[in-house]
Each structure stands twice: as C-alpha cells, then as structure tokens.
Symmetry: C2
Subunit: 436 residues, 2 copies
C-alpha cells in the first residue's frame, strides 16, 4: 500500500520541522518579551461558534464533521478568534484585565491549496483585551514586528500597512457615501484588486462615489504615507478636513514612541475583509508586495460581547507560517537545508571494539545523557574508528569520544571535531569538559 | 450566545498551558539528549491509512469527515504510528538509517471521555527505525524514563513493565497452546481484567490452557521480576525451560548497562493490545497501579513494510499528557497554580505621572524588549507608585523600574522585588544590570 499526506497538508521531516520550530521560537520569544501568556483551545469547536461570528457562508470553507452516533456538528478551527472570545467570555468575571494572550495553533481551511495558502497551517495569534488607545495598538503591532526582527527581517524587507476604521469611515462619508453604505464602501475597497476598473467605477458610483469624489477616494487609498510624514497629507489628497483623520495622527505618535516608525506606513487601502474590526487595522506585507499578507489584524471591540461576555476592548493579529516561510526563504534567512537548524550533539561516543570499551559505551552514553547532554553513538557493526569519526562529523557533533583498551585505566580519547585536536582524558573529566 | 468547548476537549488558559508546556519540554529535552529529531505530520490523514493498519473496526473510534464537494474520506489522527510508517516508507531510499524521530502531536478519539482519557490529547511519540537488538530496545525505554526523571518522578513512583512477544509466545506454546491460537492467548491475556474469573477460565481452556497449565500460566503472568533477579524465575514458575525466556535475559543485560535497572521489571502480563508488536513490549505505570498506563510501546518490525516501504526493524512508544498530568499532580510535582510555571518578567516599568516619565515609558519598554528582556507595564490610569509596585509583584517581576521627574537627568529608581532593595540608577546602566 502507498499512502500520501492529504492535499494541502504537510509532512514535517526533521529539516522542515526545524524551520517550523525556528519560526515558532521567534513568535514565542517575542510574545514573552512583550508580556503575553500562552493559551490554546480545542482543535475542533462546535460549528455554531464559527457561524455565529462569520455567518453560514463560512461553512463551505470549513472541514466539518459529526461523531458517528453523535448529534453535535463540529468544525476544525479555521482561526483562533472565536475560541479566544469564547474563553474570555466564559471567565470574564475572574480574569484580571487586561488579558494578554498568545497562541501558536494549527488551523484548517477547506479551500483549494495555492501559493501561500494551505489546508492546514500554523498561525501565531496575539490578542490584548481590556485595554485600548493608540499606545495599546502600537504595542500589539510592536510584538508582530519584534518576531520578524528576531527572524532577521528589517524595515526594508517588510511594511506594516496601517489604517483605521473610524478614520476611513469619516473619509468615505466626507466624500458623499451615505451612513448605510459605509460598510459597502469598505467591502468594495477590500475587493478592488479582484475586479475590472469599469466594474469598480460602476459600483463606487452606486455607493455615492462618482466623478471627482471617486478620484479623490482613489487618490487617498493609493497614497502611502510613511511615519516621517504627517497623515494630514491624506486628508489633503482626499480634500477632507485634517481632523477627520485624527485617529491616524494619534497612532503616529504612539508608533514613534514604540520605536516602530521605520517599519510602518499609513495605507487607507487596507480594509481587512472581516466586518468585526472597529478601529486600527493593519497588515504586514513583504516590501515588493509580491506575496499574500504575512500578518493581519486590528481592533475588534465588539467580539467578546457577541460570545456572551461583557463589552471588552480588544486588539489582535494573526501571522501564519506559510507566507512568512516563503518570505524568509526568499531573503536567504533560512538555510538551504533546514537540518542545519537541528540541535547539534555535544558528543558522539565511539568504541574501537575492545571488550571493555564495548561494555563501557552504553554506560557512558547513559551517564552523559543523564547529565543533560545531547549524546549520539553509532548503530553500525563496524568498529573502524576512522569511519565512525566520519559519522560523528556528519551528525555535526562537537566532540567525538573514543573508547579503546585504555578505558580499563579510566582514560578515553576526545577529539574536537571543529579543530581536529585530539587528546587523552580521564573519563571523570569528560562531563565537566562537555558541560562547559 | 454562550458556547463551550466540545466534550472531551480542553481550553488551555495560561496556567494549564504552562503545565502542558512543562511536560512537553521534558519530552523534548529527553528526546534531544538521546539524539532524536523532531517530526510531525498532518492533523488529519486519509481514513484508509488507519483502516489499513487497524482494520475497519477502528472507524467507530475515529472522528472522520469529508470536505464538502470532496471525494476523499479523512480522519483526525488517533495515533502517530501510521503517519510515521507512511513518512518512512515514502523516503525509505534516501533516509539515513537508523531513523530516530520524535513528535509531540495532538490525537483524537471519538470515545466516551473518562478519567485519563479525553477526545483530544497530546502524546509524545518516539521511534527508532532501522536498528534492532536489546541495546536499542533499552535505549528507547531509556528516553521514556529520562523524561519522567526530568519531571521529578523516581523509580519509586513509576514502574516500567516489560515483556517480549517472542518469549511470551514460547511460554504459551510450551503450556499447550497451538500455534494458531497464540494470538488468541495474547488477546485473552490483554483482556483478563475486563472479564469475570469464570469466563477467563473457560476461554483459557478453549485455547488449550486448562487445569495445571492454566495455573502455571496465571502464575507466570502474575509474577513480577525486578531486574535484580534472573528472569529464569518466570520459567521456573511456568515449568518451562529457561531458554524459552532467553529474550528477557538479553534485555536484562541491556537495561542494566543503560542504567535503567531500578525502574524496570519483567511482567509477562503486559501484552499491548495492538497486534503488530513483534518483540519487546512495555508499559509504564504509576507504582500503585491506580491509573491507566502512562506510556506504552514496543517493537513493531513489520509496519513500515505494510505501508509500502522495505522491511524495517522499529521500536517506539507513545506517552500521553493526560495520565502523566494526573500522576504528576498526585505526587505534588506540579504547582497547585500552574501560573507559577509561567515565565517571570525581568522588569515592570512604572511611571509616577511626570510628563517626561510618561513620554519615556513606552520608549524604555520598547528598548528593553528589543534587547530580549521580558518587560511589562501597567495599563491602569492610576499613577500611584505604591499600587503599581503591588501590580509588579503580583506579576512576579524580578525588578520594578520607576520613572519620575529625575528621568530628565537620565536617572531612574530600580527596586529588586525579591529583596525590597531600591536604588537610583543611570538609565544607561539599566539594560546591563537586567541582562545579568
């Protein structure tokens, strides 16, 4: 029988797993530096948890199922936010606020796999609930940037593109969109790259954005303003009062104070499809714009309430492993062979075949491992020390420990595999030397 | 709307997550010390991968599903071995042998949840393929023991119970069980605690184990032989030649050489239900026997071949987080509040309300985090330094850094929250002090 992994899923052999762990370590280290605590939830949830947030339309994108003989509909989690909101709502009375949580779960989407998008992927989720204001928004953006910095990316490699739902709403209203069509304008903006220019123009007109207003709208959403410039520039392009973009000005100050200015730019074209965002929204893109978003998130102050909790301000984002992995590989920030990221052995223990050495080998290996060292040995029948030293090097061991007849006198040969230097050593001195 | 986690699954709030990560760290550290590389596979596989190994009977224990509009049947993974065998078979020609892999995935069983058994759980899997012999079996048992030792368990707390399929088969044949009924005898032995004594006696007789043979069989499977004694004792109890248990004698030597003797005992009552084991089998139990097995595994030399690869010797085990967590809690080896296991902040930065301090706080927090430190601050409106120092202590920070008007002269107050000692410090000296 021959079997393959399901379409859109991955087998992680050691080299691929080492890359995944490197990315996860950057996520985890950044989270902890910023004072977030790790959480997780079930891999599958009640299907209604997802339809409650996203409507019935999401069902087609989910892997859903029922236990044989069971009555509940479940779905593999497509994202973390509903689980998070459920968990916060369930303990809202006891949880000390703010809640600062991160998670590194796997998610599932029943879509057609394509570049940067798989059916199972890993995603870092960071959420800060129970606090609000530009400084909190900047702090959440800061943890995302910190993880990228830890992976070797710079402000030249990626751009954090920031908008604000309130400012964007004021913009479209000022340009003539009626209150009840603001959401439609966001949807149109979100989907503008997926439609022909004619269709965009027609739909914009239907929303009240015709002629000059549309030109000013397009001008504003196509203008990117770095943090070195005043976001009032956008108001000028759109021909609206600068006060309408006050939220951006406040964010700019907080971003500068958090040391993030060179990474960020305002981009009113960033919408984030999800309807539940209420304030700051952002996406992180590879600088050339050639890939899908590396990360995306924003402020969603109404969601915990939707899941039965109290009204709770909240800001968070998700960053998946697939696009990030492509960007890192493209920038040469991952080794060609991920196996180079695997932990290196401290010692590779070799017996030359002497009976006393043969008897000592398993004892010495066990003793060194018990002391916490990473110790390997050969499983081959050969006792050719030269060949076995080759294996020790191939396995990237720091030292080789060679056991010969002199083990009867408590002595071993130790070879530093980097320098090639070899010397005799009392077996009792081995452990302290290796632990250094 | 109010939602709950699906039955038999868990929400991991920070305290529970910290416990899970502590267990996973012991698993990972033991794996690496013993020279195993981490792997992972998809969370769901083609359903046939599981029925190929375990027969159609397993379908009722699985969560299985189909993508809407798709034609493939999938199942959430109930164990790792089929994925492992598939991955090894797919790259058998390229993989350097032996393959030493570990994984820490989650698994799913559609069974009724009960103590020690959930519908979603985490399980450490360790497998060594392409090498055989008692020393290899002892090494695999050794990595399991190493993880328990790292968690604080001792040979007094747990017992590694070891049997061997070949020796057990020789025993039952010597007692009169026909060749074609040996598997039936193992099945009976495996299920003997789940049936009334009468039923057991009747079924044993049907297999050829009546009267005196049954008494000798029962005597042998109820006798536990520590490694300090010769397993030939079991042959004597059963009235069979000592040579029939030669596999146990060989294992005994390898276990002693690996320093595991005090943890282990022979127990021919250990069967492991799975039919595919071919040699050594073992289970790790809490010493009183009051819980389900903490771990179980053995040698399965035929499985890679079943999945389309070459004949490959293999030995491995699984250790789940649920029973282990119960045993650790019972022995007082986990804090009452798992939150004690969370990483401690290096610094908690406080502003007393001076405008210069207010402006400096986000900058200082960002700079310290950028240097890799774990830094927190308050989200409260209060600028009462005493109250904020209380919050710093509650969050278990090592130091509090207090920013006042003197920040204009580049000076801050630093309080060691363990000793209570407080002193002024140049802001430039802060980072080197905290990194110490």
């Amino acid at each position: 029988m021959k079997f393959q992994a399901p379409k859109g899923t991955r087998d992680f052999y050691p080299a691929e797993m080492a890359v995944r762990r490197r990315i996860e370590r950057a996520w985890r280290d950044a989270s902890i530096a910023f004072g977030f605590d790790e959480v997780d939830g079930p891999t599958f949830e009640h299907l209604e948890l997802y339809t409650a947030k996203s409507g019935e339309g999401i069902v087609n994108e989910l892997f859903s199922f029922r236990r044989a003989g069971g009555e509940d509909d479940y779905a593999l989690r497509p994202e973390f936010t509903p689980t998070l909101a459920r968990m916060v709502a369930a303990r809202a009375a006891q949880l000390p606020m703010p809640v600062k949580w991160f998670a590194v779960p796997n998610f599932f989407r029943a879509e057609r796999p394509q570049r940067g998008r798989l059916r199972e992927f890993f995603q870092w989720n960071v959420d800060l609930l129970g606090a609000e204001g530009p400084a909190v928004d900047a702090e959440v953006i800061g943890v995302a940037v910190s993880s990228l910095e830890r992976l070797g990316l710079t402000a030249k490699d990626v751009r954090v593109k920031i908008s604000h739902r309130v400012a964007a709403a004021k913009l479209v209203r000022a340009l003539g969109v009626a209150e009840d069509k603001v959401a439609g304008a966001f949807e149109l903006l979100d989907r503008r790259d997926k439609m022909a220019p004619d269709e965009f123009t027609q739909r914009a007109a239907a929303l009240g954005l015709g002629g000059d207003a549309l030109a000013r709208f397009e001008g504003a959403v196509r203008t990117r303003v770095p943090m070195s410039e005043d976001p009032a520039k956008l108001a000028a392009v759109a021909g609206i009062p600068a006060e309408d973009l006050a939220e951006l000005a406040a964010l700019r100050g907080a971003i500068a104070a958090a040391g993030l200015a060179e990474w960020c730019e305002f981009d009113l074209g960033i919408v984030r499809g999800l309807a539940y965002y209420t304030g700051t929204v952002f996406e992180i893109h590879e600088a050339s714009g050639g890939e899908r978003a590396i990360a995306g998130g924003g402020r969603y102050d109404g969601l915990v309430e939707l899941f039965g909790g109290p009204k709770t301000p909240a800001m968070g984002f998700g960053m998946g492993d697939v696009v990030l992995g492509l960007v890192l590989a493209d920038r040469g920030l991952l080794p060609k062979d991920g196996a180079e990221l695997l932990p290196r052995p401290d010692a590779f223990v070799i017996s030359g075949g002497d009976p006393a050495a043969e008897a000592e080998l398993p004892r010495l290996v066990a003793a060194l491992r018990k002391a916490g060292l990473h110790v390997r040995h050969s499983y081959k029948a050969t006792r050719n020390v030269g060949k076995l030293l080759g294996d020790a090097s191939k396995q990237r061991s720091r030292f080789a420990v060679i056991l010969g007849a002199e083990i009867a006198q408590g002595s071993v040969q130790v070879k530093d595999l980097a320098s090639g230097e070899q010397r005799a050593m009392a077996v009792g001195d081995l452990l302290p030397m290796l632990l250094r």
